[in-house]
């Protein structure tokens, strides 16, 4: 297998200028030719940018509650519109116990004339600022011994492109946060499973004999445990903080990795360079670290791309069951679950997180398939 790898046949033999390419260059070339995989890469980068850079361009934070906009639908128009502004103003006036005589909106500013039986306390403007729609309300003129008050201020109009949830939080910001958490958990949990799996597999395979037997038997026992059960119990056991969740998921997902690495190691340890290292008197741990693990990297990388979507899925599954990160943090799974329970009244709560979630899974799967095809030396 390595003979093929170290002597890559030039793709165009008739052209003497063609440089021989390394395995990695060939793989990169094949990967770049794979349209689905490249599209997946672009998509994934876009989703990551959306999740991590997007919040800087959205004025709302993910946990900010807009009590005036509970469960409003997605719209490209700013909220509130003129008609509902007047309603909102009337509501505020009622709360301030004054009458609204006149109300005008011009662009971002409003003017209103208020009246009451007795002189109005100028501090009543606070009632206006308290509503989400208005701010910077100031008294510009008083008439009739303060019984009529002319006020003006700014209208704050909010854009909710993805609508809001039943608590009045901006879905756009929440979908972005969900993306941050889901992607972060996906990567970190994969790294954890990579770490455990590679170390375990390499140790087991290299030491061999009885140690190998016991270590692999242990893996088999873990395999036989109902998988969902293990995750649920671990989450219950360790609590539900963000860090523990990816540790738990990583701790469950390493089994396949360990088997793959062990298989690789069994083949590697009969090779000359390992024999040479042994002859030089290196310790087992040094050989595993410096000679075995670096040589297993190829299949391991391919496998990691398979693990990442699996882990994202698992995290979302846990969140869907209510075992994921805790509010006000959220993840796509938790958002989808919220959407599923409000499906009748507010379908956008389901649709937006589901679109991003599914797009991510697709992209990752295409990238994984592309990498496998690109790194598989059998398939030129």
């Amino acid at each position: 297998m390595t003979d093929i790898v170290t002597n890559p046949a030039p793709t165009q033999p008739e052209n003497p200028d063609t440089k021989s390419r390394s395995l990695f260059q060939l793989a990169a070339l094949r990967f770049r030719r794979n349209k689905a995989a490249m599209a997946g890469c672009v998509m994934m980068v876009l989703i990551a940018l959306f999740s991590y850079i997007g919040p800087f361009f959205v004025p709302h934070s993910y946990d900010q509650v807009y009590s005036s906009y509970v469960s409003v639908g997605p719209s490209l128009e700013p909220r509130p519109d003129e008609a509902s502004l007047e309603d909102a103003m009337r509501g505020v006036a009622t709360r301030a116990r004054v009458n609204l005589d006149e109300f005008n909106v011009e662009g971002q500013a409003f003017t209103a004339t208020l009246s009451a039986e007795s002189p109005i306390d100028p501090r009543a403007t606070r009632y206006f600022d308290r509503a989400n729609e208005f701010n910077n309300t100031q008294v510009v003129a008083t008439e009739n011994d303060g019984r009529v008050l002319k006020v003006e201020g700014n209208v704050s109009r909010e854009y909710f492109f993805f609508g809001t949830d039943p608590n009045g939080r901006d879905m756009l910001a929440r979908v972005m946060l969900g993306g941050q958490i889901s992607i972060a958990v996906g990567l970190l949990a994969s790294l954890v499973s990579l770490g455990i799996g590679v170390l375990y597999g390499a140790t087991s395979g290299y030491l061999g004999g009885r140690v190998d037997n016991v270590m692999m038997r242990f893996v088999e026992i873990l395999y036989s445990l109902p998988f969902v059960f293990l995750v649920v119990v671990l989450v219950v056991f360790f609590g539900r903080s963000f860090i523990l969740i990816f540790l738990v998921i990583g701790a469950v997902e390493w089994l396949d990795m360990a088997r793959i690495v062990r298989g690789q190691t069994l083949a590697l340890k009969r090779r000359e360079f390992v024999g040479a290292a042994q002859a030089l008197g290196l310790s087992d741990w040094q050989i595993i670290r410096r000679h075995i693990i670096p040589n297993t990297i190829g299949p391991v990388i391919v496998f990691v791309t398979v693990v990442v979507p699996k882990v994202i899925l698992l995290e979302s599954f846990l969140s869907f069951l209510g075992l994921g990160v805790q509010a006000p943090l959220t993840s796509w799974g938790a958002l989808i679950s919220e959407g599923a329970s409000n499906i009748q009244s507010a379908p956008w709560l389901l649709i937006f997180p589901a679109i991003f979630f599914v797009a991510t899974l697709f992209s990752l799967n295409f990238i994984g398939d592309g990498l496998r095809d690109a790194l598989d030396p059998k398939d030129r």
Partner: protein
């Protein structure tokens, strides 16, 4: 044959034992307990409850008691569903989960094998491509997305089907949860069948059968299918076990009174006995289906002999 079955069942006992032991101690070491409510119970009441359920005894004794009772088929009372024993709860929920799971399994198996075979026969055609794209969609989109989306389309926008519940158990009620359960498995079956069918169609005995002039349908169904089904059959065991023991997600979305929810609810509420009962049940299903699949293997491939 019988000896093989007995030997396999005997070798399953230690596995079951280990599963039970690990889950017992993991559950017990988890913080919180079944009776830690938001408003704490008076100490005297708590003490009485703990004594009733024998939770005040040392852990090893509880473990021994649990194992002794479980071997005799007594899985204890549920701590949360107070008037029910775990066996009753499972007995009530299991038929629903199994019926739904069986339909979903049949749908996935028949649909997946058919689609996979068609794709293999028309390899690299547009039909093949679209079937495989559908399979990718099926494996990629998890059922907690498929379920709500199906409800949104068919129950709310089109109002053709009920959004959930078991109803009278007719197809109208079961169709959506069935599809949500079956779709990912159907996709896996289609992929497996396509792969092994392409290989089987290139085998020598198929070429011979074709050279004899047998009709293509016979060649595919009786000769190629037999070999092509082997990987499908080996996937059947985990798939059947997963479908029949109920899915927490699908049962939650479609409000089906199966046992899938018990497991998650039990774990959240520290209903130790309920969780243990569910775990044992799942483990038994996995073991039994693995055994059944090994037997089917012997039927399909005479080279696999159990003696």
């Amino acid at each position: 044959m019988l000896a093989f079955v007995l030997r396999r069942l005997a070798s399953a006992v230690p596995t079951l034992f280990i599963v039970v032991t690990i889950s017992f101690f993991l559950m017990r070491f988890a913080p919180g307990g079944p009776f830690n409510l938001e408003r704490p119970l008076p100490p005297a009441t708590m003490e009485n409850i703990m004594r009733t359920y024998q939770l005040d005894q040392p852990l090893w004794r509880q473990y021994v008691t649990y194992i002794t009772n479980a071997v005799q088929g007594d899985f204890g009372p549920s701590y949360i569903y107070k008037d029910n024993s775990v066996a009753e709860l499972i007995g009530k929920g299991l038929p629903y989960s199994m019926e739904l799971g069986l339909y979903a399994l049949l749908l996935a198996l028949i649909g997946g094998v058919t689609l996979g075979t068609i794709a293999a026969l028309r390899q690299n055609s547009l039909l093949d491509f679209s079937i495989m794209s559908l399979a990718t969609v099926g494996t990629t989109i998890p059922n907690f997305v498929v379920g709500p989306v199906l409800t949104l389309i068919f129950a709310i926008v089109l109002s053709m089907l009920p959004a959930g519940g078991w109803g009278d158990g007719s197809l109208r009620f079961l169709l959506l949860p069935m599809i949500a359960l079956a779709l990912p498995q159907l996709a896996v079956f289609a992929r497996l069948t396509r792969g092994s069918m392409i290989e089987a169609l290139h085998a020598d005995h198929i070429r011979t059968a074709r050279a004899y002039g047998l009709p293509p349908r016979i060649v595919v169904i009786t000769h190629a299918m037999r070999g092509a089904l082997l990987p499908v059959v080996s996937y059947l065991a985990p798939c059947a076990a997963a479908l029949m023991t109920g899915s927490a997600v699908v049962e939650t979305i479609f409000t089906i009174p199966g046992i899938g929810r018990y497991f998650v609810l039990g774990a959240l509420n520290r209903d130790y006995t309920l969780v243990m009962g569910t775990v044992v049940l799942i483990a038994i299903f996995v073991i039994v289906f693995n055994l059944v699949v090994d037997l089917i293997y012997g039927l399909l491939d005479p080279r696999v002999r159990h003696d």
